[in-house]
């Protein structure tokens, strides 16, 4: 056990993956000398060389498009997208090639590549630096989407993602990069596609991922004081969702709140509510609620905290599901 920030944990995880497999490459804008704008790749070019840590010309479609070619050649590229709002130029390559080439080649091509995206808001940035694009990818058959919320998960999930044979969109909650936590360097906490119960509770199941998890835990503290017991689930895997773990919790609590920074329209939250409404129809004591970003372009960051799900908004939803009895 050692303590480090999520940023450092990702850096160490990448380093270990590169040591284990020399086919692992890193590619992105400013990932070399600068170590990336968040320093996630700090020092890696120095240690692994310019051939393995590649400073890309400024074009996201090309970063992903060449990673596809490298995958065909047998390399495993970890693409860094500098910020969430800059992944869209690569959308075509992701949807049309990354997601579909394994199928199109009848399994001959392995699209083992990872696209790292620092996502969600909360760092006071300007526009396009605080988006939550996870549902675009979750919807896309052929892709998988995961998100870490602790340094330990960051360390292990990045390695598990690199080792996995399917393409993975790896969403990093940038507002949590500098928060510290224990990392177990010996063995992974769990499988890549499993949700984690972060806090047990009996009254309401609260599900979220990425930056929201910490907010949810804070909401659970407050709720506990008020006598309401929240069970906090970190989805970890956004696509596929670990619905079994979620349903198990819901069978117990009968009440559901889902938290996400993305607007609720056709979101991961919608999926969780729809699926669990089906699976747990007879256990649900109140309608499942979503606490989401609003359906507007991400606002200027001086007012982003009113956009992002806050403890207050989560507790408000908790009150509503607690108040409504069937």
């Amino acid at each position: 056990m050692t303590t480090m920030t999520m940023a450092k944990a990702l850096n160490e995880g990448l380093r270990r993956a590169m040591e284990k497999n020399k086919k692992v490459l890193i590619m992105g804008e400013d990932v070399g000398k600068l170590g990336g704008v968040f320093r996630i790749t700090d020092g890696l070019q120095k240690d692994f060389g310019e051939d393995r840590v590649i400073d890309a010309p400024l074009a996201e479609s090309a970063i992903v498009g060449t990673a596809v070619g490298l995958a065909i050649r047998g390399y495993r590229t970890v693409c860094e997208i500098q910020f969430d709002g800059f992944v869209y130029p690569a959308f075509d390559q992701i949807v049309s090639q990354v997601a579909k080439l394994h199928k199109r080649s009848d399994g001959v091509y392995t699209m083992g590549l990872v696209i790292r995206i620092p996502f969600q808001g909360g760092i006071g940035a300007i526009e396009h630096h605080s988006e939550s694009p996870e549902a675009y990818f979750a919807q896309t058959a052929g892709l998988r989407v995961v998100s870490c919320s602790t340094p330990n998960d960051a360390y292990w999930m990045i390695q598990q993602s690199i080792e996995h044979d399917d393409p993975i969109i790896f969403c990093e909650p940038k507002s949590r990069y500098w928060e510290k936590g224990d990392v177990d360097l010996e063995s992974p906490p769990q499988g890549l596609f499993e949700a984690a119960v972060r806090r047990e509770g009996t009254d309401v199941t609260v599900i979220g991922y990425g930056s929201s998890v910490k907010t949810m835990l804070r909401a659970a503290d407050t709720a506990a004081v008020e006598g309401t017991s929240l069970e906090i689930i970190d989805a970890r895997s956004i696509a596929p969702l670990d619905l079994d773990t979620m349903a198990r919790s819901l069978e117990k609590t009968g009440r559901l709140v889902v938290v996400q920074e993305a607007p609720h329209m056709a979101s991961i939250g919608s999926e969780i509510v729809a699926e669990l409404s089906e699976r747990c129809f007879y256990s649900l004591r109140a309608p499942g609620l979503r606490v989401s970003g609003y359906h507007v372009p991400y606002p200027p960051s001086r007012i982003e905290e009113e956009y992002r799900p806050s403890v207050d908004r989560i507790l408000d939803a908790v009150d509503r599901v607690m108040g409504a009895e069937s």
């Binding site: 498009g65 070619g69 130029p89 080649s105 091509y109 998988r144 596929p240």
Partner: protein, 356 residues
């Protein structure tokens, strides 16, 4: 538009002409081999068009007129090179050894690919215009990292030359000096869109602006295409970096069997290009210079007919896949939504034969 800038080793009449930078290195057998390839691929292409008309294919994208461009390029490739085609590279696929029936799986709509791309070192078709250019550059970056002497070829058309992905691939190939040969078949039309809407100047100039060589070759002259491609590939293999080859040619047929070119182009234009037929051109040479006998040409026709018949039989025998196979290879590792779908389909009792 055809002027000095066009590399040509044969006139449209099949007479040799000298070029300051290139000369043909091929002997009569090899030239005859190119002829044979062109005749066969045209025959297979015609057979495919008929198969489509008869309802046996969902679609077909003919290559009439472009045989020299594809066979010249395809035969210039070495076995270890790797190629990234569009949906129209039947001649390249032929040269790479892809079985004709496999080329047709996409068009019979029984597969989204059709062959083993690693076995033939010829990637699966890319339908989204331009994507493959970046994939090819990435593959070439892998070749560089492996220290291998292999070239990678990316195919695209005049239309696709306007796509951001193709243009970004030029940036990357130049930056990393990748062993990539960009082979643009300028067949002058992107469906109904004439070349002049994509560029007012010859396309090969694009490369210069990105800092690597571009060259325009007469795409209906198989000898010229062969030599130009061969040199570009050799240069790529030994660290010479990328080249853009613009093969100036013409799509004699429709864009695809769904297309009606009479809506947008005049017959006279097509007629002009019929007189520049790439097969006739090299046949004239073979007759004039090498005195190849009619019987030998006839043998090729017979061979081509036989292959066409075989293709037809193969296609007719190509069954609709079992619907359950749609769940195969969607992911490399197990996935709950795939399993759920497979289970649902099985429960519904849908089977290979069920659908009318």
């Amino acid at each position: 538009m055809i002027g000095e800038e066009l590399v040509q080793l044969l006139t449209p009449e099949g007479e040799r002409i000298a070029h300051s930078d290139y000369e043909s290195t091929l002997g009569s057998d090899e030239i005859f081999g190119l002829y044979r390839d062109m005749v066969i691929i045209r025959r297979l292409c015609n057979e495919s068009t008929s198969l489509q008309r008869q309802g046996q294919l969902a679609l077909w994208a003919p290559i009439q007129g472009q045989e020299a461009a594809q066979i010249g390029a395809g035969r210039a490739l070495a076995p270890m090179d790797f190629t990234f085609p569009t949906y129209r590279e039947h001649g390249i696929a032929w040269c790479r050894g892809v079985p004709p029936k496999d080329m047709l799986r996409l068009f019979r709509a029984t597969s989204n690919g059709g062959w083993d791309p690693q076995k033939y070192r010829h990637s699966v078709p890319t339908v989204v215009l331009g994507n493959q250019a970046l994939n090819a550059v990435g593959y070439a970056m892998g070749v560089q990292r492996d220290g291998a002497e292999e070239a990678v070829m990316a195919f695209f058309g005049d239309g696709a030359s306007s796509q951001g992905d193709v243009l970004e691939s030029f940036v990357w190939a130049a930056s990393f000096n990748t062993p990539t040969v960009f082979f643009c078949q300028n067949n002058q039309w992107g469906i109904s869109t004439p070349m002049s809407i994509q560029s007012k100047i010859p396309l090969y100039h694009r490369a210069h602006g990105f800092g690597f060589p571009g060259i325009r070759v007469d795409g209906n002259d198989v000898l010229a295409v062969y030599e130009v491609t061969k040199r570009a590939l050799e240069s790529a293999r030994v660290g010479g970096g990328p080249t853009l080859i613009e093969a100036y040619t013409y799509r004699l047929g429709a864009h695809t069997t769904s297309d009606d070119p009479t809506r947008y182009r005049i017959d006279a234009e097509v007629e002009v290009w019929k007189h520049r037929d790439p097969i006739e051109r090299v046949k004239s040479l073979l007759v004039r210079e090498y005195h190849v006998k009619a019987a030998k040409f006839d043998d090729v026709t017979v061979e081509a007919d036989a292959l066409a018949l075989e293709l037809r039989e193969d296609v007719l025998a190509m069954d609709r896949p079992d619907p359950i196979t749609m769940f195969d290879h969607a992911y490399a590792a197990p996935h709950p939504l795939v399993d759920e779908g497979r289970r649902e389909m099985m429960e519904l009792g849908v089977s290979a034969g069920a659908h009318s």
